[in-house]
Amino acid sequence: MNGAEAVRVEDVSFRYTDRDVLQHVSFSLKVGDMLGLVGPNGSGKSTLLRLMVGLLPLRRGKVYWFGQPLASFRERWRIGYVPQRAGSFMSGFPATVEEVVQMGLVGKAGLLRPLGRQGRERALAALEEVGMADFFRWTIGALSGGQQQRVLIARALVADPDILILDEPTVGVDHEAEERFYDLLHRLHRERSLTIIMVSHDLGVISHHMDTIACLNHELLYFGPSDQFLLRQDEVVEAMYGAGVRVVKPALSSCAGQP
């Protein structure tokens, strides 16, 4: 399975109103790649992810999942997606942590198939993985923001996806939980060769943990190995001409969102 293509984004552009939020974004990931997506606020990171999972209409460009075009890709459960700031709608909803995590199995199970006892066991296992098993019976709204975030990660993992897409998953998660979270990602990556796409603002941490970095500011400014990225970060000019690195645009520093 390793070496096969997990996702390919081809010349994707997007605008909400009259201004392009994304311009000609292209890249591809192999199964087992770990991509850190960075860029300043408003640079289009969430927009790109939402286009990739089909939450926004793909008008210009193409997205392929495991070789199939997004529109005809049926095995959607293979994509686990954790949105940015998912918390607000959950506060007043009368559902237990268990019920929420089981919702992650609905698409995979298919219509007219009850989740049954197996669904319960898998939900518990997924909660175990994110360290939330003790909260099985809690009402979702009674949890803190960080705990809710971890429940949503469990919901994304419960169907045993091949790729996990995380939009700033560690915002509101304490330091210890963040460490555990990265441990979890590495373990899943090792054990199931899970492909990971993760948005973060913490350049240091993400380039340490991910093997590939994509740098977005409406356009894709950098896409390549994270070690190269760290080396070149301060030396924009050199990076421009650096061998073996695909530097698409010279304005590399602008993508870090910090001088």
């Binding site: 997606y81 009368p94 268990e98 089981q102 919702m103 609905v106 698409g107």
Partner: protein, 280 residues
């Protein structure tokens, strides 16, 4: 009371219809409330008025059209309106709260005009607006049984999908659930329940019957399953209490049932407040 029950068949029909409706209305109502679309039930009830009025009008013009009961015209209108509202909600996300009152007013306006046109036809307008449970016939009862069975089966078959889209529609979309189909199915179900419940409490109070027991259950429930359970219990208690009191004191039945549900709601509210106070 028991004598009444055994003596008069219409009292038995009233109780049976009330209990059946008290069972399905809060089940569908639970999804309606957590999706924050309570006002839709109200809109559908009002739209059904124009359907019913059209039914009477057509019946008075052509005897053949009169073979179909006006209620079915109402049901048809309500289903059409529910699909239209869902469509509008999807298309104009930010103006969803505008689309519903517009459809509601259109329904009432059209209903009033049509009723005006069918002058001379004997329409039980009061019964439509406030319910007329005592007029339930065995045929009505069968209709409630069949529609209730349909609603229950749909809920049982699509429970996990309906819960998933109610909780997080975007996640359901990413997971590849057939959102459009599920929304349409659910809307049609709301329309069916609204039409069924109109006979019990009338157009004006339908949404109260669908939402108030759920609002009370919301204060008590820790899970969605509990919400379903508690809201059914509270709705059935409202129906029984309302029917009994209205028979005893000769009050309007629909109104009494809804008042009973409000009373239970307040009881739950005070009780949970008090419990929180004790815990704190």
């Amino acid at each position: 009371m028991m004598e009444l029950f055994w003596q008069y068949s219409f009292v038995r029909y009233a109780f049976l219809a009330g209990l059946l409706i008290g069972f399905i209305a809060p089940l569908v109502g639970s999804f309606v409330v957590v999706r924050r679309i309570s006002i839709i039930a109200d809109a559908l009830a009002h739209v059904s008025l124009s359907g019913i009025a059209l039914g009477f009008l057509l019946g008075s013009l052509w005897p053949l059209a009169g073979q179909v009961r006006p209620t079915y015209y109402g049901l048809f209108f309500a289903i059409a309106a529910s699909l239209a509202i869902e469509k509008l909600r999807q298309t104009y996300r930010h103006f969803a709260d505008l689309a519903i009152p517009i459809i509601l007013s259109t329904g009432v306006g059209l209903g009033v005009v049509l009723i005006g046109l069918s002058r001379g036809v004997n329409i039980d307008l009061l019964g439509l607006l406030f319910g007329n449970i005592l007029a339930v016939t065995p045929a009505d009862l069968w209709r409630v049984v069949i529609l209730g069975a349909v609603v229950l089966s749909v809920l049982a078959l699509f429970y996990k999908e309906l819960l998933a889209i109610s909780f997080d529609e975007e996640a359901a979309r990413v997971a590849g659930l057939p959102i459009g189909f599920l929304q349409a199915l659910f809307s049609a179900m709301v329309a069916v329940v609204v039409m069924t419940a109109i006979q019990l409490v009338g157009i004006l109070l339908v949404s109260a019957l669908i939402t108030i027991p759920v609002a009370a259950a919301l204060r008590l429930a820790k899970s969605f399953r509990q919400l379903l359970l508690f809201s059914v219990l509270l709705a059935e208690m409202s129906v029984l209490l309302g029917l009994w009191v209205s028979f005893q004191l000769n009050l309007a039945t629909g109104g009494t049932i809804v008042l009973a549900s409000v009373l239970l709601f307040l009881g739950v509210l005070f009780w949970t407040r008090w419990r929180e106070g004790v815990m704190a």
